[in-house]
Amino acid sequence: MNKSSIFICIPFLLLVPFLFLNAQNDQSSSNAYKKRVLETAEVDFLSSYYSQDGDNAAVTGGIGSEALTDATGTILVSIPLNDDDVLTIDAGISAYTSASSSNVNPFDGKGAADPYVASSGASRSDIWTNVSIGYSHSSDDRNDIWSVNVSIASEYDYFSAGVGGSYTKLFNEKNTEVSIKGNVFMDSWTPIYPSELRPFYGGNGVNNILFTQYSLTGNTDYNPRFIPFKTKERNSYSIGIGFSQILHKNIQAALALDFVQQEGLLSTPFQRVYFGDIDDSFIQNFHLADAVERLPDTRYKIALGGRLNWFVNAYTTVRTYYRYYFDDWGINSHTASMEIPIKIANKFTLYPSYRFYNQTAADYFRPYEKALSTDNYYTSDYDLSKYSANQFGIGLTYTDIFTKAHIWKFGLKSIDVKFYKYDRNTTFQSTILTAGFKFVMD
């Protein structure tokens, strides 16, 4: 049995005890009364504004500006088709502007090329769009739930198509829930490479106009290692097992175990790497790439997470979460978070939160100029480096269960506004402001 087969089999073996338990399921369920799974159509508008900065951009080999802003808008519509079935449509758009992406081509002729200064090139911004359609069916006793979903996502150099499904079983008078889900994403790249490397594959190399238009400094015998990636596909397969249990009338907990396998082009084609054993070549203030990152074409990830929520009293709830993650690229990670919703008035709830995250470095991570030309795999992407991060958040929710405010046939049920500040123990930091509006149909 190969590694891949073992990876797929483990989740099913873990399900056996649950299936046995299911066979002993109580017979308490009744078909006497069937409540609609979803009483009426619901519409959620979600939006966010994200901003980040740092000095370790992957596009420029571990140095340079990581400044990026991203504005996202999503509409999520849930429609009850009948008593048992719900159709969900999820459509989103995200527009970003990125200093590091702009430096895929830093030679825009508008000022000296510099990894810490954004270029005005076409790669400085992009738009990501996503549409996902889901369908779920619940059994008459509401103890069995099946769902399927399909999705597509697109941006300039990347396309993703996904399909997934899940099955959930409730028993023990709906005190216990077991679920299994699977997803497949079939993605494809349109690889974009750093501009100074492009003349070195089927081009005229250092005789290209780029190197005659600008003066080479440092090592003037610039000869990077550049062969375009043959594989342009990236496939991801995931299987997740979930288990939740009501422990007390005020406490419930959940466990989740996820297995992810990825294969194909797992490197990012425009992320530069600088070798320590190659003399440096420059144009203006910009260090020319020695290569682009090279990462293995497979990756196996396993994540085990748990939640425990405690309804302390009518004013306070405690929400906790922990996750341990590891993969075969050498990364181990711990995530822990706590949110304490506090009802401060009849319709208002405050959401203070804290989240801790840390990870070890991938085996292939090398800081700026630390990779060697003799290495098989290398990346200077600091998202794969060793670091820890703290995130503090605050949010406010307005809830009107009577939905007095209306737009056409939809009543406003809630408004959520949240702000999070995230700091790594490197130079990276980010903030995100989110807002959500929930409407229900009359």
Binding site: L21, E173, D187, G240, Q252, V260, K418
Partner: protein, 60 residues
């Protein structure tokens, strides 16, 4: 696992008013979805939180 579950007190439907509070949901809330996405792009760890586990490059 079976023993563990059977040892728990069974909470009846009419006792679940607190368990059914929206803040007791055992997953990320919808309004936090973009925060989870940002984490999945910037951090190596993914999964086991109801968030996305694949698809999209997350490379910018």
């Amino acid at each position: 696992m079976t023993c563990f579950i059977s040892s728990c007190v069974v909470v009846k439907e009419y006792e679940k008013v607190n368990i059914n509070d929206p803040d007791m949901i055992l997953s990320e809330k919808k309004c936090d979805r973009n925060v989870v996405v940002a984490h999945s792009y910037r951090e190596a760890a993914v999964g086991a939180n109801g968030g996305k586990m694949g698809g999209g490059c997350g490379c910018n």
